[in-house]
């Protein structure tokens, strides 16, 4: 009587092992790439009720971040500009542009322009804008080149490990206090960010918290 299992079954174990190996690697790789904020958050670009372009306002018109985000230097919360802030100019400039419909509507009714939120840290995380911008961390470091964004999108993962990168080595990000809101700033030729950063770090006694209490309360 012949074998119950045909000859080719002898190869199955080997094939299974190889398969598992491949799948395992694929899954691990997939998770590390697709399931981390690097992928899930970066690049999030919702359409806003009014097509506000930072590119035009900052790049072309050279407006300062603080004109609209007026409380960023004093408050934990970098405020969304008020409709009034928009209308301060747009009553004269392009008062009829269809792009501004939503803003004019809100101006009339008193209902807010409900901008879509782009950047969000979890509710148990207490991020404070004021302390960062006042101690040499630029908007750029967390929000990227907003000045070039026609529509705002998330540029950095803003995950905990990402925060820690800076909190552990702030010298890689610290800037001259005058350049905080200068999205184009680069260390002068010959200067290196690390060198400048270390000077500021020493001079200002920058040692950001890396224990839980710094952000979680």
């Amino acid at each position: 009587m012949a074998n119950f299992f045909p000859k080719w079954t002898n190869w199955i174990p080997l094939k299974v092992v190889i398969c598992l190996g491949v799948v395992g690697v694929a899954v691990a790789g997939g998770i590390t790439y697709y399931f981390t904020p690097k992928y899930t958050r970066v690049g999030y670009m919702p359409t806003q009720p009014a097509p506000f372009s930072h590119a035009i306002h900052v790049e072309q018109l050279g407006m300062d971040c603080r004109y609209c985000h007026s409380f960023v230097e004093v408050a934990s919360h970098s405020n969304i500009p008020t409709t009034q802030a928009c209308m301060a100019c747009h009553t004269q400039i392009r008062p009829t542009s269809p792009k501004l419909e939503a803003v004019r509507e809100s101006w009339k009714t008193g209902q807010p322009v409900n901008w879509v939120r782009v950047h969000k840290v979890p509710d148990y995380t207490y991020f404070n804008h004021a302390v960062h911008v006042n101690r040499g961390v630029s908007c750029f470091s967390c929000h990227g080149a907003v000045n070039e964004m026609k529509t705002v999108f998330q540029d950095q993962p803003q995950s905990m490990s990402w925060c820690l990168n800076c909190h552990r080595a702030p010298e890689n990000f610290l800037r001259p206090p005058t350049e905080i809101y200068n999205m184009k700033w680069k260390p002068a030729p010959g200067e290196s960010q690390r060198k400048i950063g270390n000077e500021f770090k020493a001079a200002w006694e920058v040692n950001p918290p890396v224990t839980c209490g710094g952000c979680h309360r």
């Binding site: 119950f4 299992f5 993962p157 995950s159």
Partner: protein, 470 residues
């Protein structure tokens, strides 16, 4: 029963009478008989009693699962745990089950290393018991946490939060110890099964069985070139499992021993937990094997009174070790002169939980003393009754250590009692359902006695067998 209770001598043939030691297999059973009888348990059509018992145990299992679902959906509050008593029945039952598991590994590993041939007829079932007990045990640490869905935080994997585990925490040691223990036990058990699976493969007729057992047997051929590696591997596994089983319960005891709480903070815990585990585990083996043999009477030729007798002796020994530990705890607490330690043990014995302590003392220290008498070691009915005490007593021991200690530790203002809820109770009962269900499935579909090892201890297995006569 009657057959079993008859003394060994009556059963011995003349030839056997010349042998110094009583034989491990009675009635001159042949290899063929062994294979065919043990396999028949798997091959014959499902007996009614099996369905009946499943009819009882499966609903219990479902009840357990229902309770756990309710627990996860609602919160740990559905248990009786409270502020002084953060751990109660959950960890008690965890330690209880994990302890039971240990006897299996011990029988298969340590007795193997010490060349105790009599283990062969019970190690398979004992190992199975280990696995199922660890399954039941695993439920508790896994689900006692407040946020089960976050339990993956325990796994040291790189993550976007850049935060890691605290490897100094005994709980994390537990995670590694218990999972290692389970994995190694599975490997050990399955390795032991391979040749027997081959036997069934070669006997069975239906295509499905041929396929399933064929795959499970991995194409075992029983060639000596396989046996030599196989034996080596088995020996190594035994060698690994022995320190493992000792470490696992030591680590479990570290949960308490490394804390600062009076009544927990003691160096005596590891040895005494291990002794207790063996104690309770053997009791559970007997609790299961005696009915099994009662159902499959011929098994008495394999699991002989001789085995039972030996196991009772071990229970007596470990029970006394545990008893010694209890007294030593009290002595050290007094001798150490630390008022907190003194109070802790005083309250254990005479505090609001005096009844639990009394139950523990009676079940674990007093009751096993019966085994000094051969009559109680060899009368299966008595044995079965007596071993129920260690089963209960070991549960009470863990309850006393965990709940009593926490209910009264350092700060009297925070003292409080623990009262179990119906969820506590149903979950615990349910785990017995789960345990038994798994065990029933095991004896129905797998050889519950290690055939090839039993054959190997038959006289004719010796390559020089009978040569003396030639």
């Amino acid at each position: 029963m009657s057959e079993a209770t008859a003394t060994i001598e009556e059963k011995l043939s003349d030839e056997e009478k010349q042998v110094v030691r009583p034989p491990l297999v009675l009635n001159k059973r042949t290899m063929g008989w062994i294979s065919s009888y043990i396999s028949s348990i798997v091959e014959d059509k499902t007996p009614t009693w099996w369905w009946v018992s499943m009819g009882v145990t499966v609903p219990l299992t479902l009840m357990c699962l229902a309770c756990l679902a309710y627990l996860i959906a609602t919160g740990v509050g559905v248990w009786g745990n409270n502020h002084p008593v953060g751990w109660a029945w959950d960890i008690t039952n965890f330690v209880f089950w994990i302890g039971i598991g240990h006897a299996g590994t011990l029988i298969s590993a340590i007795l193997f290393l010490t060349r105790q041939k009599w283990r062969t007829s019970i190690n398979r079932a004992a190992e199975a018991m280990t696995l199922f007990a660890v399954v039941c045990a695993g439920i508790y640490p896994a689900l006692h946490v407040g946020r089960v869905w976050m339990a993956w935080f325990l796994a040291p994997v790189p993550n976007a939060n850049g935060i890691w585990q605290n490897f100094r925490s005994p709980l994390l040691w537990d995670v590694f110890a218990v999972s290692t223990y389970f994995t190694v036990s599975v490997l050990f058990w399955y390795t032991g099964l391979i040749p027997d699976l081959a036997t069934i493969r070669d006997r069975c007729t239906s295509k499905i069985k041929k396929f399933i057992y064929g795959v499970m047997a991995l194409g075992w051929r029983g060639g000596n070139r396989q046996w030599r590696h196989y034996e080596k591997a088995y020996l190594i596994l035994a060698g690994l499992s022995t320190p493992l089983v000792l470490s696992v319960h030591s680590v479990v005891s570290f949960d308490f021993a490394t804390s600062v709480i009076p009544g927990w903070h003691t160096t005596i815990f590891p040895p005494y937990f291990v002794a207790g585990a063996i104690f309770g585990g053997f009791a559970m083996v007997l609790t299961i094997m005696i009915p099994a043999c009662a159902i499959y009477k011929p098994l008495h030729d394999l699991v002989t009174i001789n085995h039972v007798d030996k196991m009772c002796k071990i229970i007596l020994l470990t029970g006394s070790i545990v008893g010694y530990a209890y007294l030593m705890e009290l002595f050290i607490a007094w001798y150490g002169g630390n008022p907190f330690e003194r109070a802790a043990f005083w309250y254990r014995a005479f505090g609001p939980y005096w009844w639990a302590y009394a139950a523990m003392m009676f079940c674990n220290v007093i009751a096993p003393q019966m085994f000094w008498f051969k009559y109680f070691r060899t009368n299966l009915l008595w044995v079965w009754i007596i071993v129920q005490f260690p089963n209960m007593g070991m549960w009470f021991e863990r309850f006393v250590i965990i709940a009593t200690t926490l209910s009264r530790d350092f700060t009297p203002s925070a003292w409080g009692m623990f009262h179990p809820t119906w969820v506590d109770i149903c979950t615990f009962i349910g785990t017995f359902g789960l345990f038994t269900t798994l065990f029933l499935i095991f004896i129905r579909f797998l050889p519950m006695i290690c055939m090839f090892e039993v054959k190997a201890v038959l006289p004719e297995a010796d390559p020089h067998h009978g040569e003396a006569h030639h």
